[in-house]
């Protein structure tokens, strides 16, 4: 099992590399693999290999496609890890950071800033993501506080139900805002569907740091996550302080989701699907699930972004629409298809 899983993770790593190379290369201008190699080598090592590639291709690749593809990969990976955390602590395979209300809360914040035309010069372009981040966190804190008030052990179904109710309520407010402030309708819808358009290297670096911290944090907790898969009481009997651990994980999942979506807008389904795919590949042991889900999430998001910007080129479809269009039937096949076989 252990050797098999190591091999499987290496294969997924290879697939990740292929997807990233494709995302670097495909677009209005095709950048072949050898050119990609020389461009990267030149940028990294000041190789002096300018003769091996076209200057315009280098500009397109390093300033537009690379940050975009890498950010998509990192956002997908981050959301997948947040999904693993949420599903494990809530012991619910249908849970995701969406269930906690993070995404809808972030959308509400962004929508409010848009319709009220709030402007804080010191924050500049970061106002919208910062607002989304704060309201996403506030929403999940509200969900957790309300769940805690009802049930001091913060049982899974309490949080899931509370999260669903709050999400629905918040989504209704967003719809209302879009209808009442019709001139901002397009902007609100765009944010709720997400996009990687126009993203820069600093976005990549922020997400890279967040994901690295997230992977380490989650790997440290892999045993507790394993134990919690058997239910709260079982985990407590094994020696896990479940209430404390669940609080830590919920805050972690909210933070990671907030950071992941705050630059791009909310993008659904990857956080729900990637953990399932990972478990199908490497089993239930979180030591393997965490790493695998990160790469699967990255692959899914990077592919979805590639599809979103190429399938109707030069027009671009919001990436959230692509993940939902592919993700919904895929999830039905993955979850219910396997169950009906049993």
């Amino acid at each position: 099992m252990k050797k098999n899983n190591t091999l499987k993770i290496l294969i997924i790593l290879f697939v990740s590399l292929v997807v990233i190379i494709l995302a670097f290369g495909i677009g209005s201008v095709f950048v072949p693999l050898n050119e990609q190699f020389w461009i990267i080598a030149d940028r990294l090592f000041k190789h002096g290999a300018e003769g091996n590639y076209q200057a315009t291709n280098a500009t397109i690749m390093t300033t537009i496609r690379m940050p975009r593809a890498l950010l998509a990969f990192l956002v997908g990976g981050g959301l997948a890890i947040a999904g693993v955390s949420t599903q494990s602590i809530l012991q619910n395979p249908l849970a995701s950071p969406y269930t906690l209300g993070v995404s809808s809360g972030a959308s509400l914040g962004a929508s409010l800033i848009t319709v009220l035309e709030i402007s804080i010069p010191a924050l500049g372009v970061f106002l919208l993501p910062a607002g989304g981040f704060v309201t996403g966190l506030l929403t999940v804190l509200f969900v957790m506080a309300a769940s805690y008030r009802i049930d001091r052990n913060v049982k899974s179904h309490t949080v899931v139900l509370m999260g669903m109710v709050v999400s629905m309520f918040v989504n209704a407010i967003i719809t209302l805002l879009a209808v009442l402030f019709i001139k901002h309708e397009h902007h609100i819808i765009s944010w709720t569907l997400g996009s990687f358009n126009g993203k820069r290297w600093y976005h990549v670096l922020i997400l890279l740091a967040a994901d690295l911290i997230a992977i380490i944090f989650m790997l440290r907790a892999h045993r507790e996550l394993d134990a919690l898969s058997f239910g709260d009481e079982h985990a407590r009997a094994l020696g896990v302080d479940t209430a404390k651990f669940k609080w830590q994980q919920l805050i972690f999942a909210a933070l990671l989701t907030g950071i992941s979506v705050c630059f791009t807008g909310t993008i659904g389904f990857v956080d729900l699907i990637a953990p399932h795919v990972a478990r199908k590949i490497v089993g239930a042991n979180h030591k393997y699930v965490i790493i695998t889900a990160f790469f699967v999430g990255g692959i899914l998001m990077c592919t979805a972004d590639l599809v979103s910007r190429t399938i109707l080129a030069p027009r671009e479809i919001p990436v959230g629409a692509v993940t939902a269009l592919i993700g919904a039937p895929f999830f039905v096949w993955l979850y219910f298809g396997q169950r009906s076989k049993k």
């Binding site: 619910n92 009997a237 020696g239």
Partner: protein
């Protein structure tokens, strides 16, 4: 029976339940270490709630001292060192292998970033799987096992936890006759400190050193099995002629 100097579990005025509903009412008793104690009572009498309360899994009023230490104040890993529990309602939400599931019993011994199973840990885990007779299915996925096999997997996990007190809630549920007899024999022979919820009155009287009779969340009678065997309290606990049935 206040014997704080003696090893065992002492309950003083313990009340517990679910939310506002109090199921266990003002219970005080002392469960001695090194003996088998069975909890008997009708369905819904509070047997499982009493077991879960003593295991420190439910909020409670009053005091529960495990070998002189207040359970509320013990960190969860310390509690797991003292008490292991085989629950009646076990479920796994994700598909672990039998081996991975049993290994989790060693959680309280684990430290550091990755697994830190020593050679003796792995040998012990294998021994526990042998005791539960599940060595041949160790690579199978637990979601694909029968109820009886799954019960034996959780028993092996309980053995792997290697705690001082073993709490069992209907341990013979799903087990066929062969494994039921094997488990009862093993519990008797091991002389482990065991607290066990039982439906089968005969089996409990045959196996246990002490019996707690529970009705409506209160203790009807608690004492040595020899005294309970012929006590009229059995009839009161079950609202029927238990003594006649047993004879």
């Amino acid at each position: 029976m206040s014997e704080t100097s003696k090893k065992g579990i002492e309950l003083s005025n313990v009340t517990s339940g679910y939310g506002k509903k109090k199921v266990i009412k003002n219970v005080s008793l002392f469960i001695p270490s090194g003996e088998i104690t069975a909890i008997l009572g009708e369905n819904g009498s509070g047997k499982t709630t009493l077991l879960r309360t003593i295991a420190g899994l439910l909020d409670h009023e009053g005091s529960i001292l495990v070998d002189g230490e207040e359970i509320k104040k013990m960190p969860y890993k310390e509690r797991a060192k003292k008490i292991s529990l085989l629950s009646q309602m076990n479920s796994a939400y994700f598909s672990f292998s039998v081996y991975e599931t049993v290994k989790m019993g060693r959680y309280r011994f684990q430290k550091g970033f990755f697994d830190s199973y020593k050679e003796e840990d792995l040998k012990f885990i294998e021994e526990c799987m042998k005791r539960a007779d599940i060595l041949d299915i160790k690579d199978e996925i637990i979601g694909e096992l029968s109820g009886g096999q799954l019960q034996r997997v959780y028993l092996a996990q309980l053995f792997a936890q290697d705690s001082e007190y073993v709490f069992l809630d209907e341990p013979t549920n799903h087990l066929d006759l062969k494994y039921r007899v094997k488990l009862e024999k093993e519990l008797k022979e091991s002389r482990a400190s065991t607290l066990c919820v039982y439906h089968d009155i005969r089996a409990a009287l045959d196996m246990a050193d002490n019996i707690i009779l529970v009705k409506n969340g209160e203790i009807v009678k608690y004492g040595k099995t020899a005294d309970i065997r012929e006590s009229e309290a059995l009839n009161r606990t079950f609202d029927m002629d238990v003594l006649g049935y047993l004879s």
